[in-house]
């Protein structure tokens, strides 16, 4: 019972094995890829492990506070940004091993030639809002 974020990058992850960009696939290959992703999410719903999934536009804006009474400053998008998030899926699973297994399955989504992309997905555990009460009888820090 731990939540994990499966993070998909446009840029910033190591290169996939089958690294041909989607705009060079056949239309059928694109269809097969989307079908695979939808099936994956649907299957997670039936196993009771699905929490959320979203895709992000590749271009965004940087925003920051610019002082009292002034509008926020905006900047970007920056073409040179090294790390670019493409989207995510949030899962709620019993073990880390299960999270790795699911990330592996998602990474096997078919790409060019109908072959798995072997895309690198980043797996990040959630920090939990509450703390477990008794497994940490750490008298000093957290009781």
């Amino acid at each position: 019972m731990a939540k994990y974020l499966l993070l998909k990058h446009y840029r910033g992850a190591p290169d996939a094995v089958n690294n041909i960009p989607m705009d060079q696939w056949t239309q059928d290959e694109i269809t097969a890829h989307i079908q695979y992703m939808n099936d994956f999410a649907a299957r997670l719903e039936t196993t009771g492990e699905y929490v959320d999934g979203q895709a992000l536009s590749p271009e965004g804006t940087f925003v920051r506070y610019d002082g009292e009474g002034r509008p926020p400053v905006t900047d970007g998008p920056f073409a040179e940004t090294k790390d670019l998030i493409a989207g995510w899926m949030v899962i709620d699973v019993d073990t880390y091993e299960r999270a790795v297994e699911l990330a592996g399955e998602l990474s096997a989504a078919p790409g060019a030639g109908g072959k798995p992309i072997h895309e690198w997905l980043e797996l990040r555990p959630f920090l939990t809002p509450t703390h477990t009460v008794t497994d940490c009888t750490m008298h000093t820090a957290t009781d």
Binding site: E45, G48, D94, T132, V133, T134, T137, T140, A141
Partner: protein, 381 residues
């Protein structure tokens, strides 16, 4: 209307339906519908016999669902042939439900969800909110769990240890959404203790009561952690402590020690101390020695090292910590604390910051970052 009282009737009602021959999954759905109906109807028309009312409504719902099924004829015949429920021992039935919902074929999260619904009487929505997942996800988790145990015989005795693990998980989840899972875990463990005479069930109940007694003092109103030594002991719940200690003593007197009793003994020693300085750390170390013997868990060794640090000084604590693998959660936090006590503030500050970085929870991360900041402010020239 007392919702907890209503929910406490859940296992008994479900057991009646199963005894009458309803299959578990359909009976559980019917009981859930009856509970929802009760919440709607009872405030205006409180029944004289709440359990009888629930049985009647749930059974009707079950028959309705069965009739609409394609196998209608056959099932109705079977239902009609079924003898009326005999004076079956209610405690036994409740116990069987606990076993079924914690069946070893279920994953921990499924067992937790099924227990909260079928034994606890919570709605799928409440359970989903408590675990911060979509309601549809939780509904799937529960129906899958029900399918998994559908072939399990209801009258087969189970292993009480699996049930205790599930209840312990529920307790540890704490509080989110509108359900206090720690309080719910205590209620379910109390109900289990009434159904089976077992020292470890008593031990777990005592452990929960003793920990929950400190609940209000463990965090500040804004959610920051308060270490045990700094908690306002005057605000500990003495009623819960008295009950927990009494339950623990009765269990220990039976001389069948288990890990929950030993953990509860540690909690009782903390509860006993009027001030942090009065804590009997020597006895606490002895209980951790028992726990090491019982579980050989690295987490227990970590806790033992901290206790040794209090009983015999920080150097001894650090020596005990050396045997704990690096990968154990919170080891770095313990090392930071022991180094601080030993007077090595630069190392302590560095380790607190590292521990914050590795912390699995938000309140702990904030707490440990503050400790690092406190020492760093001290260390600046």
């Amino acid at each position: 209307m007392d919702e907890v009282l209503l929910r406490s009737l859940t296992p008994g009602v479900l057991a009646v339906l199963v005894r009458r021959g309803a299959d578990f999954a359909a009976a559980e759905d019917a009981v859930q519908e009856a509970l929802i109906e009760a919440v709607r109807v009872w405030p205006a028309e409180p029944p004289r016999d709440p359990k009888g009312w629930l049985v009647t409504v749930a059974w009707r719902r079950f028959l309705d669902a069965t009739r609409s099924d394609t196998a209608r004829r056959r099932r109705e015949d079977r239902v009609e042939e079924e003898p009326p429920p005999g004076p079956a021992a209610a405690a036994d039935d409740t116990l069987q439900l606990y076993f079924l919902c914690a069946h070893p074929s279920l994953t921990p999260s499924s067992a937790v969800a099924l227990t909260l619904r079928a034994v606890g009487g919570l709605t799928t929505r409440q359970i989903a909110q408590a675990y911060l997942v979509p309601e549809a996800t939780m509904a799937q988790r529960i129906s899958r769990a029900k399918r998994t145990v559908s072939g399990v015989r209801f009258d087969r005795p189970g292993d009480v240890a699996t049930v205790l693990r599930v209840l312990y998980l529920v307790f540890n989840e704490g509080y989110s959404g509108d359900v206090d899972l720690a309080a719910e875990a205590i209620r379910l463990t109390r109900q289990l203790a009434a159904a089976i005479d077992h020292p470890e069930v008593a031990g777990l109940l005592a452990l929960m009561l003793l920990h929950h007694a400190r609940h209000a003092t463990r965090t500040t109103p804004d959610g920051a952690l308060v270490p045990l030594a700094e908690q306002d002991r005057g605000r500990w719940d003495t009623v819960a402590i008295t009950e927990g200690v009494a339950i623990l003593q009765a269990a220990l007197a039976r001389d069948r020690l288990g890990e929950f009793q030993a953990q509860a003994a540690v909690a009782a020693l903390h509860a006993d101390a009027l001030t942090a300085e009065e804590t009997d750390w020597v006895q606490i170390v002895e209980w951790y020695d028992e726990l090491v013997r019982l579980t050989d868990s690295p987490v227990v060794r970590l806790n033992r090292a901290v206790a040794v640090g209090e009983a015999d000084g920080p150097r001894a604590g650090l020596a005990a910590l050396a045997a704990v693998p690096d990968s154990v959660p919170r080891r770095t936090a313990a090392a930071a604390y022991l180094h601080e006590r030993a007077g090595d503030l630069p190392t302590a500050a560095r380790l607190y910051a590292e521990a914050a970085h590795r912390s699995p929870t938000i309140p702990e991360r904030t707490h440990l970052t503050r400790q690092a900041a406190r020492l760093n402010a001290h260390l600046r020239p």
